[in-house]
Symmetry: D2
């Protein structure tokens, strides 16, 4: 259940305030030059404390590789890694021990498992996404080194219904409140032929990947939800040949994927994120005994997940593509 991917696979573990997070990247071919500085740089993009927009928590997020790399290259055997938790303030969470925080996973985890690690959200904390960034960075290295010139570029499209990103987040933060928003991602350089028919369509894999990120509420690709009011004659992508004689489409309402398989055009999609559930305002809720309580959360929290979610979106996309690349090697004899 904590494994992502079919051939290029991440199996991960770790709670927000446990000893460490970490994972195993399995299925990465031998011979990838491991640029650890690149991996760490990707992790640094995700960690908090980077700007006024994100929480002041200073999580070092230093990744240590434990296996699968020899003389600077992947060996084809599993790549184990850990990120030790070093700056956790578990006492911040003593007051939420018995509370079911609104729109958090406290109630559902307790119901499912009988009890929960309440420190910092435990496994439901977005802190687990650090492991996704590590694996996504390795996926990017692999894709680059097989000679593919793939770019994966995510950015915040809007927050709080506004394209004034910074102002909107700071205003919410000042009010002890939070905001949601949309991240848009564009991928170029994927050759035609990646993705599988039926259940494992490339966009279904991308969608599952994005929807598995904390606070994600929606996903669409190509014309997406905007296309539902269109007629086919407006949005069919006409095929033509370009100057190199390659088959391309004149428009790209399809978003680079047709019948679940890449067609060589840019892939683009959007991910909707809800406002962070942790508010610095008093909120009504109940505790584990069903008693009504008023919750006043303190501590260091993001007012908006989107700034830190950008590298996570890119990382999940990279893992989906790495997996699709390996799978399509076996499409033909």
């Amino acid at each position: 259940m904590n494994t992502f991917g079919t051939l290029f696979r991440l199996t991960c573990f770790g709670e927000s305030h446990g000893e460490a997070l970490g994972g195993v990247i399995d299925g990465c071919p031998a011979g990838v030059l491991m640029d650890e500085a690149f991996v760490q740089a990707q992790l640094d993009r995700r960690r908090p404390g980077q700007s006024a927009l994100t929480t002041a928590r200073n999580e070092a997020d230093k990744v240590q590789f434990l296996s699968g790399i020899f003389e600077g290259k992947t060996t084809g055997t599993p790549i184990g890694f850990v990120i030790y938790n070093t700056n956790q303030h578990s006492s911040d969470y003593a007051n939420v021990k018995d509370a079911f925080r609104p729109s958090h996973a406290d109630f559902t985890y307790t119901t499912k498992y009988g009890f929960r690690d309440y420190r910092g959200g435990g496994r439901s904390s977005a802190r687990e996404t650090a492991c996704r960034v590590v694996a996504g960075a390795v996926a990017q290295l692999m894709l680059k080194q097989v000679g593919l010139d793939i770019t994966i570029q995510a950015q915040i499209a809007e927050v709080g219904g506004s394209t004034q990103i910074e102002e909107t987040i700071l205003a919410a933060k000042a009010a002890g409140d939070t905001v949601g928003g949309i991240i848009a991602c564009t991928i170029t350089g994927v050759p035609a032929g990646w993705g599988e028919p039926v259940f494992d369509k490339l966009h279904a894999k991308l969608g599952a990947a994005m929807l598995s990120i904390n606070a994600a509420k929606g996903f669409d690709y190509g014309m997406g939800f905007d296309g539902v009011s269109k007629r086919g004659s407006q949005v069919n992508d006409i095929f033509t040949t370009n100057q190199q004689g390659q088959v391309v489409t004149q428009t790209n309402f399809s978003g680079g994927i047709q019948g679940g398989i890449s067609n060589g055009m840019p892939i683009y999609f959007r991910v909707a994120f809800k406002p962070v559930a942790t508010l610095l305002q008093p909120q009504q809720t109940v505790n584990a005994q069903g008693e009504s309580i008023t919750l006043q959360v303190k501590g260091r929290h993001d007012a908006c997940v989107l700034p830190r979610a950008v590298p996570i979106v890119e990382s999940m996309a990279a893992m989906v593509l790495a997996d699709a690349y390996l799978l399509q090697r076996n499409s033909k004899l």
Copy 2:
């Protein structure tokens, strides 16, 4: 790649104009009373020729169960089934043999596999969804017989940007054109505790399931894309206890899922579908030789997928739930 689910699994096969479609339902517990009439009735909801809104093709879509059922009950062993293709007009497709139809999978399949079964779209035809309906119906029977009172209700929310469903589809059809739309689905009766943390969140599974349906372009759940312009204080779901002493939420912006796990409130989501790619108008495209051609498709085609997609959405949801039900049996000791 043609398998859906972890414990309750459908593995399916079949092309639009091949000998038959079919599949294997594996992992269904023993003892489910097999109501074959119910399964056939679900299939009948999907098949064309039901109303003025859908294609006049008369596909009998008669399911035959071949194994896994004895004395009217599932035996715990795999349930094999076939649906023979009986009314195919392959000659309708002779003129598209070499053409890459706009916004179809002709080009991507040919690139991926080196050649393709061009008759009626082959494996990329929505005809494969018949198998999903069979498995979804079995999933519904299983859920009902374990004593859960779960309802899964999908309906067309809008087509062509309008809630005038019938008029909009008929207008598009009259113009030899097609329209997209949105199907909304609500699920009630799911107990708290279903779904898995991290990658296999319940909504990520639902999203992957829906996005794998032909012509789907987007998925959101709960407040979804509408929530991106909200502040946390507006959309946090406050916990309270109801008259039975159960923990419930006052609002349901979460859509019945928190941290990837059901919370006992109704689950609701939307699926965006693009307009059907097959138009009864001339279109420019290229053929397999890269030559520019004008395509004039004839035959019997839907002007809008949504009327027939309603039972498919319900079926995919049922399979996701059946799988989540079996998985959560092992959450606790």
Copy 3:
């Protein structure tokens, strides 16, 4: 649970006396020329009624392919197939309906599932192996057509502790009794580098495949059980180079696999089969009510499984190899 393989996969279904057996072969690359006569010929090797050594039941075992093949070649999409049951005498089994036949699966199936399809052993009948032979034949076609000159040759090494195969089986049959034996299999032409370290060692996959065949009780490869009394200095395989400059071993106690990965030398292994459990003699047992009964089985039964198991052993080996071939394509960048 009824799926075999990681990339080259068979998912199968069917009971001995149900409507049909069948399966889905998924993951076979596009472009394999489908020699249906070869597949049928392999099936014919398995079916009963071939000689005095096997049961007189005349099972036609005619395979019908339903999908995944177009213009004589695999398309890369799943290959569905069925084998209808045409000559079943279910009434032969009326007297075993409530009986737990000794060393059969009647008791364990009933305990596990609450009831069972008692006709001819249902899913536990060796009749399901027909599907394995179909998939194994497709695997052999694939391996041949990628230009590998692999031979897979199984044969009966001994029955009843004797190399007098025919005499021993006929003597047991005349006594209304049955005998076990050993099938030995040799595979040549597998290049070095197939198989995975740790859990998915090539011999562990072969072992699981062989042990899953009905009546199998043991598996060893290379020097196997005979090697346990040897010293390392007697059985280490010394590396040398042959006239073509290739690294080979002077001896082959390893059985062509070292560290779980093929080394280019011939692979050989043995499979131990127990005597058939169905005797034509009266036997004591209990029925579902726990009452002591005397069982007198009638009907048409093999006195020894080995003659018919030879093509099954070869088929399972072919599936393991096809899977290993596809997996090792991704070992290196």
Copy 4:
């Protein structure tokens, strides 16, 4: 490829002389009291330096749990763990850097991956089995705490064709040589109904598990290879009822498994191990350049794997059983 199990799963990583070994145990239900002292005690049984029979290497093998445990109990989320390598002498292996050691995995790994981590055998070292012991210990804790009274007892049956275990090993060691042998394992207390028909038969799972252990060459269960010379009338297990009214068998040639499913009787099996490939004698071989060389290995090595393999056999059996237990919970409605 480095994942074992369907529901109770170990994904592991690590090389003999890398930074650390470790793994992720996923699918363990919440609520298991984590007896870390028991886990460490099991690990201690496997580590070298325990007696005159095993290598003098002193590997501390201290397991550290990093996640999935809170307030002494499993939380239902993945259990990450590491075992740091602390006493490695990589310089011992400088002289084998380019050599293909006879009957080792040096040649096959180099062929498969293009290069290899030559220090101490890298991933092919039996050192990886430490992770199996950790997961096996957790599996045993889980089985015990669901109220099942299961015992798993492995022991050395013979080495070098002799039941004089200690003398035979010491004699081989004195000669700079090594010996193989057989480990026998008996499991009591498994209820009837565990295991799956067809491919995932309980003994096929046990066989794959045992054959995946380093140096394993064979597996049989019940009467195993000894049964091949018997007639059915000699070895059929007659059903009867015991004093508690339970259905039992008078004999147990089946080894507690019928049709791939446990029948409640003791399960027993044997595993054949070859002599250790590392000899302290000069051996001929070739190097990576194909040149003939004489290899003289030094360092600290076992003369026989069996003493240390006993807890590994038990651990793999425990994992198979834990998985079978979770799977069979869903056999019936």
